[in-house]
């Protein structure tokens, strides 16, 4: 449900980003509209969506993650000097070494999706943290779901 909310928000924000383009071209890195600087990490998080989620012990991109990755690909094509890193994570319900590999597979799956959308693979690096850098700190299904994730960030 969190992803859906993000989606709606991201759609609205994308429009706002388009509207602000003329200002941005004049001001360069300025924030005349008060929103995140276009092409920035904050822009990616707020207006595009920086993460996609996975099912337990799976690394295939779910249907609900595809629109996010599509927006990331479009965003990367618009800001074609920006490089990103995709970090793969897992929940805590696995062993450390296996989860390092699973996290890497998730990062690779997200990167491969971006590349399939036309983004140069050279712009997208990957890293896996397995279960060792959780996003949510609880020990319940809600936290685990948030930690089965690939997160894109500007490098």
């Amino acid at each position: 449900m969190k992803t859906k909310l993000l989606g709606v928000f991201a759609a609205a924000a994308l429009l706002a980003a388009c509207e602000s383009t003329p200002d941005q071209s004049a001001a360069g890195a300025g924030q005349t509209s008060g929103g995140p600087r276009p092409g920035s990490q904050e822009d990616l998080v707020v207006n595009v969506g920086d993460r996609v989620f996975f099912d337990f012990d799976r690394y295939d991109v779910r249907a609900d993650g595809r629109p996010t990755l599509q927006r990331q690909a479009e965003w990367l094509q618009r800001y074609n000097t920006v490089n990103v890193q995709v970090a793969g994570h897992t929940d805590e319900r696995g062993t450390r070494e296996y989860n390092l590999a699973l996290g890497q597979r998730r990062a690779n799956a997200a990167r491969d999706f971006l590349v399939a959308q036309g983004v140069s693979g050279a712009r997208v690096s990957t890293i896996s943290y397995g279960k060792d850098r959780p996003i949510a700190l609880g020990s319940n299904e809600e936290a685990w779901a948030q930690n089965r994730v690939a997160i894109t960030s500007v490098r």
């Binding site: 319900r93 062993t95 896996s128």
Partner: protein
Amino acid sequence: MTPFSDRPRLLTDTQVEALRTLSLSRRALLGAGAASIAAAGLPGTASGQGAVIDITRARTDPLPVAITDFQGAQPYGAQIAQVISANLARSGLFRPVDRRAFVTQGQEATPRFADWRAIGAQALVTGRVEQQGDRLRVEFRLWDVLPGQQIQGTAYTTPAANWRRIAHICSDAIYERLLGEKGYFDTRIVYIAESGPRDRRIKRLAIMDQDSENHRFLTDGSWLALTPRFHPSVNQVAFMSYLRNEPRVYLFEIDTGRQSLLGNFPGMTFAPRFAPDGNSVLLSAIRGGDANVYSIDLRTRAERRLTSGPSIDVSPCYSPDGQQITFNSDRGGNQQLYVMNADGSNVRRISFGQGRYATPVWSPRGDLIAFTRIAGGNFAIGVMRPDGSGERILSEGYQMEGPTFAPNGRVLAFYRESPARDTRGGGYSARLVSIDITGFNERAIPTPTDGSDPAWSPLLP
């Protein structure tokens, strides 16, 4: 920490005049001692060859041993006795006799065995420490109380700062003489010291003696460190570091603190494990989304791929003879344990129980493979034979993993995690524990901070 060159020196027979006067020949006495202990009805030492602990007996009836303060230079004498006593008690197989019951303090040249029999001691440890400048000469004797005989008399010299190792070496001698197999007290544990909230957890390489003493942090925590494993020489560790955000396997020299990249291989490298001969390292490397097992030759740094295919093959570990490798793979649909020949041929699955199986480690004795099992919403540590038969679960809980064998194959260390009880991670902990391979005597291994990924060293060189 004392460098290995300072290993306590076993004095030659000519240096141990006092001991020789007490014994015709050490070898003969040892034989007599073992036989007399068997006669006294102690478990499993009857033959003197291939003797094994009768764990069923020992766990309900640990062997009562009286350990007197070593005479002479203090506080060393008393401290050595304390360390020996703590080691033996921690094993679960011995019960140090309450010293308040001692009639004498072991100062006589020949013990008054009736006094020790009267308080229920079956074995007696006495000793003497002489300080010679900054060195110690430690004399140690083990007595079989019932027939009233010396089982062992040994002397060592060592720098005074090294007195703990003397205590551990004496503990190993007692363990071996009374139980018929080698001890594991003169060893170290390398592990990951953890602190801070889990999303910004600081993970440092750390090392300590098996009794948690002489603790030392080896890395400063700037980068995540994971999964250290000892080189057979014990002076080098292979581990995974996120140095400069590039997760790779590194080698770390304990004496010098020197850290070096194992090799410039493409992709993430992780899950290192030295070969028994110390000449190569097994690891997993991810290329194109698949994790495969590779062997890296430490002299040439040449790699050799041992597994293939679209699967996650991780946590490789050699058999003690170096002829086989166990690892876990999801090639069959979920994580299971496999064994293959050291060249990658003849792969066969060995785990068939309920759930997922991971982190297989081969016992130094070759007879068992320890593993982590995830089933029914719980984690467990267990052992099975290398052909997959005889599976036994030793410990079970919310989360635990990463078993590592003590060098005699009788004790495992692993780490246990408790669940967070709130969304901020409160209540979460990671702790090192040890357990006898029969599943009894689980106990915490104290560490200054949280700990994970323990690796138990061989007996120190």
